[in-house]
């Protein structure tokens, strides 16, 4: 099971206790009535949906119930780091520098597993049948 570190509980907890809450660092305008339609559409509907590193809000709903922010790789599903809500957006280049060996390993391994494991399983099933 995937373990996610909750910055409020200061502990790694099983993913079943958490719920995703969309992209992080999307600030609502202080004068929303004055927003142009294009700007409002951007704020309300448009999300980055990147392939790779994403900044997300998560909620430890079956735990301390707090919202926090997480940096996650959408390809490998690896959580690079988590931090409390309200803290500034961390510098991506800095995170990747300190985390590089693990991140690279995480990106390579799952793909290898994906290609190898199903084939092995299929072969085993054929043998059984």
């Amino acid at each position: 099971m995937l373990l996610i570190r909750c910055p409020y509980c200061e502990e790694e907890r099983p993913e079943l206790e958490f719920r995703n809450a969309g992209e992080a660092h999307i600030a609502r305008s202080t004068n929303i009535a004055a927003e142009s339609d294009e700007d409002f559409e951007k704020f309300f509907f448009i999300r980055s949906n990147p392939k790779g590193i994403i900044f997300e809000r998560w909620r430890h709903i079956h735990g301390c119930a707090r919202f926090f922010n997480a940096v996650r790789d959408t390809v490998s599903d690896k959580f690079v780091m988590t931090y409390k809500a309200g803290e500034p957006k961390p510098d991506l280049a800095k995170i990747m520098k300190t985390d590089k060996p693990a991140a690279v390993a995480a990106e390579v391994d799952p793909q290898e597993d994906k290609t190898k494991k199903p084939a092995a399983k299929r072969a085993a099933q054929k043998g059984d049948a």
Partner: protein, 187 residues
């Protein structure tokens, strides 16, 4: 208004009252009703509330404090559940506190189940993904977590004893789940 001439008394039957189950190494029992409050308060109010309640509200994650049958469980950075098993109402104790806080009586919302025996942790772990080893979840540790499809509140009362609190409407599911898990843990 008409006078209430006769006092109508109805026998209350709390959910799952008296239900128990035992398997090899695990014993389940539905505990007696208790007084419970949900308490939210900022850091500045903690000292006054602790004094009024007679139990120091713990501030470290996953910890609880017990005194005279009253247990304060820390659920989040500003959230506690206070359980009183001696029938004293913690809500009344909080009422006199002037400092900012929110105390809500939830006595009837929850049902408590005790899980005891050497295989108690294995029984709960069949539906709860948390690490329940003594190193990670020592005696007195508490946490809101999940069991199967239902949210529970878990408190370790002794090395081989847990208190599982769940919502009343989930209690049948939780008890049945734990009974099946106890059978599996014994096997």
């Amino acid at each position: 208004m008409a006078k209430a001439a006769t006092t109508i008394t109805a026998a209350r039957a709390p959910a799952q009252a008296g239900r128990d189950f035992s398997a090899k190494g695990v014993k389940l029992a539905v505990l007696a009703p208790a007084e419970r409050i949900s308490l939210r308060a900022p850091e500045a109010s903690i000292a006054a509330l602790s004094k009024a309640l007679g139990v120091t509200l713990p501030q470290k994650a996953k910890t609880s404090a017990t005194k005279d049958g009253r247990t304060a469980l820390r659920l989040g950075p500003d959230e506690w559940m206070v359980i009183d098993e001696k029938g004293n109402d913690p809500l009344a104790d909080c009422a006199g506190v002037k400092q900012l806080h929110s105390a809500v009586g939830i006595s009837h919302r929850n049902v408590a189940i005790s899980v005891t025996g050497p295989a108690a942790a294995a029984c709960i772990n069949s539906g709860c993904p948390q690490d329940l080893s003594l190193a990670a979840f020592p005696v007195g540790a508490c946490s809101r977590t999940i069991l199967g499809k239902s949210e529970i509140l878990l408190l370790r009362t002794a090395e081989d004893a847990f208190r599982v609190e769940c919502w009343r409407s989930f209690s049948d599911y939780v008890f049945t789940f734990l009974a099946q898990a106890a059978t599996d843990a014994a096997a």
